[in-house]
């Protein structure tokens, strides 16, 4: 049980052997946030069913194997779990020292996407195809490294006890740190990810205790930026169309409005309990594009109904609720900022993803955390869970 040894964090109690150590009152296993972990696992499990339902008949993409996507989704979840365990084992504080390195790698990766190595999917040039059916979406990892990087900068002086709040210089540095990858991602252009990052930055600043002026300024800058983007025609046609279809859902139901329209029909037809897993006609009929990834929620809506869709929202709520608690309960600002950044990320991305299938948000290419098919996203969210667990595990026993 050498592995078990690694799980016990030194300095938290007398050394014990084997299972006893794992399940001891002060052991890591006991200190993990199980509700969050179980909720996240449940989401991934539901996700695998939905992904399977959405892809088992799509011969044109599943290469004739109905389990193609299911197997990969389960594999991704497994890798994600391993990453989470690794993160907990290393501990967020150990990782804190590696943040500059991780940040640098992630920025390099997104720069790679802009080179001919990257490839374009659905208008966004945000993938690195690795071959063998695998591909990487580095913008997912950037979300983590931005949180870690900003937290490191903002919390450094405060956690050292020098100041109660980060000063303006630190905030400026942190914003600069976030701005670099955001600009690159915007060039891809992956507008959805940029929006998530903006919200992450907002969450991080809020949790850091930075002056209200910064928070309000950032919100103002966001609004101004949005107006500028619109006015200066920086957006591509497909992006404008998505907004147009959002503003007017009945617009061209066979063209730009097709996606949202079919998604809403799929969800709406689910009713209270849905058509039953694998029995959704919209799903089996492949009326909703991108249904295993960005529109995975429509499968739940149609086949599992209000009950299933509601369960997903509740489970996401459990994950975020626990993350909020972790943010509030940890005594070091670094942990608080990381947790709050993750909450902001999960919350906005979930809201945007589900919201666009429900027609209350414009369509962007964002996956639903834990549920959507996609390795990079899956790895990123499980690493985030690992960070949250580590913050909880490593907080002082406040008995």
């Amino acid at each position: 049980m050498t592995g078990a040894n690694s799980f016990s964090v030194s300095g938290y109690g007398p050394e014990r052997g084997g299972w006893t150590r794992i399940f001891a009152r002060d052991s890591v296993a006991r200190r993990l946030d199980w509700p969050m972990l179980l909720a996240a696992l449940a989401l991934s499990f539901i996700g695998s069913l939905l992904v399977y339902s959405a892809t088992r008949n799509r011969t044109e993409i599943n290469q004739g194997d109905p389990y193609f996507f299911l197997i990969r989704h389960v594999m991704n979840t497994g890798i994600g779990l391993a990453l989470m365990i690794g993160t907990v084992w290393l501990g967020h504080r150990t990782l804190r020292n590696a943040v500059p390195f991780l940040y640098g790698i992630s920025v390099l990766l997104i720069l790679l996407v802009l080179t001919p190595l990257g490839s374009t999917v659905n208008g966004a040039h945000s993938w690195i195809v690795l071959g063998g059916g695998f591909s990487l979406q580095p913008s997912e990892f950037v979300k983590v490294t931005i949180i870690l990087g900003m937290a490191m900068l903002l919390a450094a002086r405060v956690d050292a006890g020098d100041k109660p709040y980060p000063d303006h210089r630190t905030v400026l540095q942190a914003l600069g740190l976030a701005a670099v990858p955001m600009l690159i991602v915007m060039l891809m252009p992956d507008l959805g990810s940029v929006m998530v990052m903006v919200i992450i930055v907002l969450g991080v600043l809020l949790a850091s205790g930075a002056s209200n002026r910064w928070v309000l300024g950032l919100i103002g800058a966001g609004v101004l930026g949005a107006v500028a983007v619109w006015q200066l025609h920086i957006l591509d046609d497909y992006q404008i169309n998505r907004f147009a279809a959002f503003a007017n859902p009945d617009l061209d139901p066979a063209g730009v409005g097709y996606n949202t329209n079919q998604a809403r029909i799929a969800i709406g037809s689910g009713g209270l309990t849905g058509a039953g897993l694998f029995h959704g006609s919209q799903t089996t009929g492949q009326f909703v594009p991108e249904q295993q990834t960005d529109f995975v929620f429509t499968v739940a809506g149609e086949e599992l109904g209000f009950v299933g869709g509601g369960l997903i929202i509740v489970l996401l709520g459990v994950v975020m609720w626990r993350a909020c608690r972790i943010a509030r309960e940890t005594t070091e600002l670094y942990g608080t900022i990381v947790a709050a950044g993750i909450v902001a990320w999960f919350a906005f991305q979930s809201f945007e993803n589900i919201g666009m299938t429900l027609g209350i948000m414009p369509v962007t290419g964002l996956p639903l955390p834990f549920v959507s098919y996609g390795g990079s996203s899956m790895f990123a969210v499980w690493v985030a869970v690992g960070l949250l667990q580590s913050i909880r595990v490593q907080r002082p026993m406040s008995a």
Binding site: G209, S281, Q282, Q286, F287, L316, R328, I354, L358
Partner: protein
């Protein structure tokens, strides 16, 4: 851990964290609310949209029910043809979109591969025929004339013919049992129109584009019950139209069978006799017009007197209803509806109308009795009757002296009715009656006898005929006076003079109008079916029925039998005493009156026949002949246009129909074994456990049987088993034997009256 200072939470961060938490919760709450709105509140609407998205219907036609005669003999049923069809969805799954399979199929069927390809392509605005204009999910018929061998080839090598089926399919057939034709009564089917498809689209029995709908006759009247309910299979398709599953299948429910009161044998006899009578009439010379009779159309109705059920109904000219099966060619259609066709599609028994001639006198007699004239009184039957300088002659100027109303019917004395009608006209106020003064007994009676309106027979598009009463005259005058006043001349030719008179007083009931009317001439129009109702009522004691052909509807499984009951529509306005008097008088018509020369040797003591002849004048044409008859059980009405007198044209034919019904031999003896229907068919045919209706064997040609029987009897007694001597003293009437007929006329019928 101890190296990390216990700074604690600053209130600012703590508050902000709570704010974040609340924000997160409200976002999730928003999602939940929206989800509830879409799925629970608007769910039904989206479910509808979703099903419209991905469900395609394939309709299986229901087998149309049969139309059977009273004994269960099918008049219209279905024959099985082998239909080879191709499924587009299956073909499109193949690599070359099924080209190879279709080419192979064309080889088996002996068709041009190109033609087969064209047949399975879908129609659109730019595609010329041939193309498939039905649902792309519906199997597309390639041919409905495959031989069993071809079908076997296809079915045995089904792996070579993916998407191709060879299935037996029901196609309408008008069986003509015993050579009966029944065309106009049965009606016909023709393809459904776009409009009808649209209308029935959302109903529970949608039409197929290849569907046939009843257009006339029983096929139309009972279309709903005969049609059954098409089966609908709903297939789920994906967004590319590929079938991904079968959602719901309602099997086709075959249509119910309609049992009619028609007896195919009697029908055949009636048709044959009508045809023979018309042929015979065309050999007769008409002295008035100086040409042979045209006898261009006719009708005969055989009805059960006590119930109004139709036993036979024929209309001439006729046609073969099978021309409609499988789509009528434009050439055939022109033959049936063109200007020179003489409109064989018309059922002249219910759609042909003519002045009734003397057959109307039963109405006038009833009117006279109603007006207070004694049935047994004495009325002068002079050779002519003059009113204001206008002379109305009795037929061929005969004079019988004072006679009763009964005798007047018997000998068909016109002048008796002239006198009565003129009298009533005067009592009603003459040419300018006061308002409310006219009693109009003669017109009222006609309405009470059911004239001027439909009888309610269960056939579509029955015409009403016409009673030329004051109201009609007024409206007719209003509609035509401009034309009359423009063309009318006081000193012009006949037409111009009439127009002139009509212009002046066409809205008024003139003496001549009422006098003409009283003997069924002039503007009065009746249909054969109306006559059948009147004479049927005289036979049964005064009850008028809405004639019915449908007798029962038997569901395809034979489990539900819905009887169609006879419908009483009214009572004749005649007392039982008058009825008895008229009954006797009409019997007298057969024994010593206007029809006697055709009914010599009839066993009147066993089967009492009653008759009234009629000859209606039609301006510019030869006279229309009427013969209205009844026995205790049946009433037989025959009319032939442009054929002379009622007895002359139809006497033999009607007699033959009665002979066939009752099995009367030429010598007057009755052979019950040969009788087709000595009593009206009471019960319904037997239904077997599998739902089919048992039907007896039917002779190849009942009309020929009758002729054979008559011929055998005429050739001598050698064939007569019981050795009864035929009534040798009474020559029999045999069609085509004009000598016999002449002789008979001289002996049996002293006078030829109408």
């Amino acid at each position: 851990m101890t190296n990390i200072p216990e700074t604690g939470r600053t209130p600012r961060v703590q508050i902000r964290l709570v704010v974040i938490q609340i924000l997160v919760l409200s976002l999730l709450g928003t999602l939940g609310g929206r989800l509830w709105y879409l799925q629970i509140r608007e769910g039904a609407e989206y479910a509808k949209q979703a099903s419209g998205n991905h469900v395609q219907q394939v309709v299986q036609p229901a087998v149309r029910g049969s139309i059977l005669d009273a004994r269960g003999v099918p008049l219209a049923d279905n024959e099985t043809r082998l239909v080879v069809s191709a499924s587009r969805t299956e073909l499109l799954k193949q690599k070359d979109d099924g080209k190879a399979v279709l080419t192979k199929l064309a080889g088996v069927l002996g068709m041009d591969p190109q033609e087969v390809m064209l047949k399975v392509r879908l129609c659109d605005a730019k595609t010329p025929q041939p193309c498939w204009n039905g649902s792309p999910y519906q199997p597309i018929p390639i041919t409905d004339e495959a031989t069993p061998k071809q079908a076997l080839q296809i079915r045995e090598r089904s792996e070579d013919f993916p998407g191709i089926t060879a299935e037996p399919e029901a196609v309408r057939r008008y069986a003509s049992p015993g050579k009966s034709n029944t065309a106009q009564v049965l009606g016909y089917l023709s393809p459904v129109t776009d409009e009808e498809i649209q209308q029935a689209k959302d109903s529970d029995s949608p039409y197929l584009r290849s569907d046939q709908v009843g257009r006339s006759g029983l096929e139309r009247q009972y279309d709903k019950v005969l049609r059954g309910k098409a089966g609908v299979t709903r297939y789920e398709v994906d967004n590319l139209g590929r079938v991904i599953g079968q959602a719901k299948a309602d099997p086709a429910q075959p249509g119910a069978n309609l049992v009619t009161s028609i007896d195919a044998r009697v029908q055949r006899v009636a048709e044959y006799e009508l045809d023979q009578a018309m042929k015979e009439a065309r050999r007769q010379f008409d002295k008035i017009t100086g040409s042979y009779y045209k006898a261009d159309s006719g009708a005969v109705v055989v009805m059960e007197a006590k119930t109004g059920r139709i036993v036979a109904m024929a209309s001439a000219p006729t046609y073969d209803p099978n021309v409609w099966v499988g789509g009528i060619s434009s050439k055939d259609y022109a033959k049936l509806t063109g200007k020179d066709s003489n409109y064989p599609l018309l059922n002249r028994a219910i759609q042909g109308q003519a002045a009734p001639g003397s057959t109307f006198k039963v109405v006038s007699t009833a009117a006279a009795v109603e007006a207070g004239y004694d049935f047994d009184g004495r009325y002068p039957c002079t050779s002519s009757y003059s009113v204001g300088g206008q002379v109305f002659n009795n037929f061929e100027g005969e004079n019988f002296g004072p006679i009763s109303l009964g005798r007047a019917l018997e000998v068909s004395c016109d002048t008796v009715f002239y006198g009565l009608a003129h009298n009533e006209w005067k009592k009603d106020g003459g040419i300018n009656p006061k308002k409310g003064q006219p009693k109009d007994y003669f017109f009222k009676a006609a309405h009470q006898f059911g004239l001027g309106k439909e009888t309610g027979v269960d056939l579509p598009n029955e015409v009403t005929g016409r009673v030329p009463d004051r109201a009609w005259k007024q409206s007719f005058w209003e509609a035509n006076k401009d034309y009359w006043c423009k063309t009318g001349k006081k000193d012009g030719d006949y037409v111009e003079k009439i127009a002139y008179e009509n212009c002046l007083e066409g809205n008024k009931m003139r003496a001549g109008d009422e006098i003409n009317y009283s003997i069924g001439q002039g503007d009065t129009l009746v249909t054969p079916i109306q006559e059948a109702v009147i004479y049927g009522a005289l036979a049964n004691g005064g009850t008028m029925h809405a004639p019915t052909i449908g007798k029962a509807i038997i569901s395809a499984d034979g489990k539900t039998v819905t009887e169609i009951k006879p419908k009483v529509t009214g009572k004749l306005p005649i007392s039982q005493a008058t009825l008895k008097g008229m009954d006797e008088a009409l019997a007298g018509v057969v024994t010593r009156g206007t029809a006697a020369w055709k009914f010599g040797g009839w066993p009147q003591d066993k089967i009492e026949l009653h008759a009234k002849t009629g000859t209606a004048e039609v301006y510019g044409k030869q006279t229309t002949s009427w013969l209205a008859t009844y026995s205790k059980d049946y009433t037989v009405i025959m009319t032939i246009a442009q054929a002379g007198t009622g007895s002359g044209a139809s006497g033999e034919a009607v007699r033959n129909i009665y002979s066939a019904l009752y099995g009367v031999q030429p010598d007057g003896s009755i052979d019950n074994k040969k009788a087709l229907l000595p009593q009206p068919q009471k019960g319904l045919p037997k239904v077997r456990t599998d739902g089919t209706v048992a039907s007896p064997k039917i002779s190849k040609d009942p009309a020929k049987d009758l002729r054979d029987m008559q011929k055998a009897a005429e050739e001598g007694t050698s064939t007569s088993q019981d050795g009864t001597l035929p009534g040798a003293t009474t020559p029999t009437s045999t069609a085509g034997n004009r000598d016999t007929r002449r002789r008979q006329r001289r002996r049996g019928g002293r006078r030829r009256l109408t």
